[in-house]
């Protein structure tokens, strides 16, 4: 009897240990794949190929590169998420995405019913590697394919783009706003117009002031308004020179807080929200 009781106790302990190991394993692994095609856009071969390249790049740079496709994100939403972007951030945490203690990773998640997509990054390494400018550049790589329904090409471009950006970041030079435009305008389309204006107006202004100076030198006859050359030596006497303090006013103005960025200040770097995520959502 005593032996039976010991055996049952031992069995229970092993059972408890197995359950806890399984639950721990589930909690730490989260999603089993880097490429999760719930919406069924890819063939199994395509998904496997993408999975392999995403895993290789993620392991190489210790930063998860994820692709998730859903039919309708609302089925997975817990009700508190008011937007697809909010849902994407919750989804990232819910499925315990990211690599390492910082949960570094980048997620491209799509909801097919409304043609929504979100591209978000989390963790210091990911936010450093995927700047605002870098994420825009990445979108330019895959969005044209998404619009045309070429899913494999789109995800392939996304994964290879992430791979090269992580490599650049590992070399200490994340893809960011070019130095020449960083000092100037904030967008890529704006500067040409401003530069054209500068190119035309600045030389015209300089030239006008030089020519006006030359023109002024032609008119030298002018009435004198003062007579300093006729002041007697020692002829200036200041008998009263009195400066009296009257009153003082103090004005206190709050200094507006500047949004935290992980990169250089100004137009470059990454805009990180208080949730720790950077990135945005849109339609494809």
């Amino acid at each position: 009897m005593k032996r039976t009781a010991i055996s049952v106790g031992l069995l229970l302990c092993i059972l408890l240990l197995c359950v806890s190991i399984v639950s721990f394993a589930e909690e730490s692994r989260g999603l089993p794949y880097y490429v999760s095609d719930v919406a069924g856009l890819l063939s199994e071969e395509e998904r496997s190929a993408l999975e392999e390249s995403a895993k290789r790049a993620s392991d190489a740079w210790s930063c998860g590169i994820y692709v998730v496709t859903l039919d309708d994100y609302r089925r997975y939403a817990e009700g508190s998420e008011s937007s697809f972007l909010r849902f994407s951030e919750s989804f990232y945490h819910q499925y315990n995405m990211g690599i390492g203690s910082g949960h570094d990773g980048i997620l491209l998640i799509m909801s097919m019913d409304d043609s929504d997509y979100s591209l978000i990054a989390y963790g210091d390494r990911a936010n450093y590697s995927f700047t605002d400018y870098g994420k825009n550049a990445l979108e330019k790589e895959f969005l044209p394919y998404l619009s045309r329904g070429q899913w494999y090409n789109a995800f392939s471009a996304y994964i290879s783009g992430c791979d090269s950006m992580l490599k650049r970041a590992a070399e200490g030079a994340p893809v960011d706003v070019p130095a020449a435009t960083q000092a100037g305008s904030s967008s890529q389309s704006g500067p040409s117009g401003i530069h054209l204006l500068i190119t035309l107006l600045f030389p015209a202004g300089i030239s006008f002031s030089v020519c006006q100076g030359m023109k002024r030198s032609m008119k030298q006859v002018r009435q004198k308004r003062t007579a300093e050359e006729y002041i007697l030596p020692g002829g200036v006497h200041m008998t009263v020179q009195q400066d009296t303090f009257l009153n003082r006013t103090v004005v206190r103005t709050p200094i507006p807080r500047v949004e935290k960025t992980s990169g250089p200040s100004g137009h470059g770097g990454t805009s990180v929200r208080p949730s720790g995520f950077s990135g945005h959502s849109g339609k494809f």
Binding site: P191, S192, H195, I198, T199, L200, F202, P203, A204, I206, S207, F208, V210, C211, M214, K215, S217, M218, K219, Q220, V221, R222, Q223, K224, R225, T226, A227, E228, E229, Y230, I231, L232, G235, V236, H237, M238, T239, V240, Q241, Q242, D243, T244, F245, L246, N247, R248, T249, V250, V251, R252, T253, P254, I255, R257
Partner: protein, 369 residues
């Protein structure tokens, strides 16, 4: 009052004398003799005394080394009413019609320099005269030099331009000594800004600033001739008063001289405005160490202390181009030259394009390539 013309004649050959600015002596155009101003003045006074003793001006005309001709005082002419006066040249007898304010000139027929001493009698007698130092040739050369370094000057202006008229003129000037009494009050502020935590703290301190005192001036000039543009005369200042001499007509032969037709009260307004504004600048600049200041009350008043009447030397050069007349003035003592020049719009546009185009090309390369 009789109107007389005096021709300064050479004591050696009775040829006409003229004052030479370079040597500071009176030179004879015929025999080349030269005389100091003092020598000529002495001879002139002796002859005047002799004439007074003889009691007949006519004998002086025959014997004196300088002939004086008296205009017929009974003769009236309508021109006098229009501000002109009729004289007789003592050398050739020609009738000379001159401006009422003219005191020295030359006969257009025989070219003899003539002085009208009567114009300088009584209150019209200047206290000082500043003799010419710059010669006519130097004045003409200065005009050509003045054209240089003026890139917008039309090419035809300097090439085809001929001096129409050049005159050495003793211009009547009033010289004012005076003191400006000043009383000024300002409100001044001093502003500091410093960051304390999440706040920017700006402190503004207010001050009442008072200044009182005086500024004394010596010989502020203002021309007393309506014919002379005030701005042209202002532009050739300053004159070196150290070289001024007590007035004598002996410095005048060879030059034109005018007497004043704007009195000292009228011209003092211009001089006092200059004095007051100078004092204001001095007092304003004494308010220092503040972020800003605003005048609350200002009282600047110039009191005239002494007025002198002087004839100052000016070369006037007139040219004509495209039907427009250009007047240039040169300080006959220091050589300071001034005058407005025409602007070539073609050259203006060429320079504009010449500067703007390469700059635009450089910027285009920088921004777009």
């Amino acid at each position: 009052m009789p109107s007389q013309i005096t021709n300064y004649q050479c004591p050696a050959c009775t040829g006409p004398l003229h004052y030479d600015g370079k040597t500071g002596r009176l030179l004879c155009d015929y025999c080349g003799s030269s005389f100091s101003v003092e020598e000529i003045e002495k001879i002139y006074h002796e002859k005047l005394e002799q004439a007074a003793e003889a009691g007949a001006g006519e004998s002086v005309q025959q014997e004196a080394p300088f002939a004086e001709a008296e205009a017929d005082s009974s003769q009236t002419w309508d021109g006098e009413k229009e501000g002109m006066k009729l004289y007789h040249c003592p050398s050739c007898g020609a009738e000379l019609l001159m401006d009422r304010t003219t005191a020295a000139s030359s006969c257009p027929y025989c070219a003899n320099p003539s002085v009208i001493p009567a114009q300088f009698e009584g209150l019209l007698r200047p206290d000082y005269i500043l003799p010419f130092k710059i010669t006519k040739e130097e004045a003409v050369a200065a005009l050509s030099k003045y054209y240089k370094g003026k890139p917008l000057l039309p090419g035809s202006f300097s090439d085809k331009n001929h001096i129409e008229e050049i005159r050495g003129v003793y211009v009547p000037f009033w010289l004012f000594d005076g003191t400006v009494s000043a009383d000024a009050r300002y409100q001044a502020t001093r502003v500091f800004s410093a960051r304390h935590g999440d706040e920017m703290v700006t402190t503004t301190e207010y001050f009442d600033v008072r200044r009182r005192g005086s500024v004394s001036f010596k010989r502020i000039p203002a021309d007393g001739s309506r014919k002379m543009p005030d701005d042209l005369m202002d532009s050739i200042e300053p004159f070196d008063y150290e070289s001024m001499k007590p007035f004598s007509t002996a410095y005048m032969p060879g030059y034109i001289a005018d007497i004043y037709d704007v009195d000292d009260r009228e011209t003092f307004e211009r001089a006092s405005t200059r004095g007051n504004q100078t004092a204001e600048q001095i007092f304003d600049s004494s308010v220092s160490g503040y972020s800003s200041f605003t005048p609350v009350q200002k009282e600047f008043h110039m009191k005239r202390e002494r007025t002198a009447y002087a004839l100052l030397p000016v070369w006037l050069l007139c040219t004509q181009w495209n039907g427009e007349r250009f007047i240039f003035a040169m300080n006959g003592q220091t050589g300071k030259f001034t005058g407005d020049l025409p602007v070539s719009m073609k050259k203006y546009l060429a320079y504009f394009a010449g500067i703007a185009a390469p700059l635009a090309a450089l910027l285009a390369v920088f921004f777009f390539l």
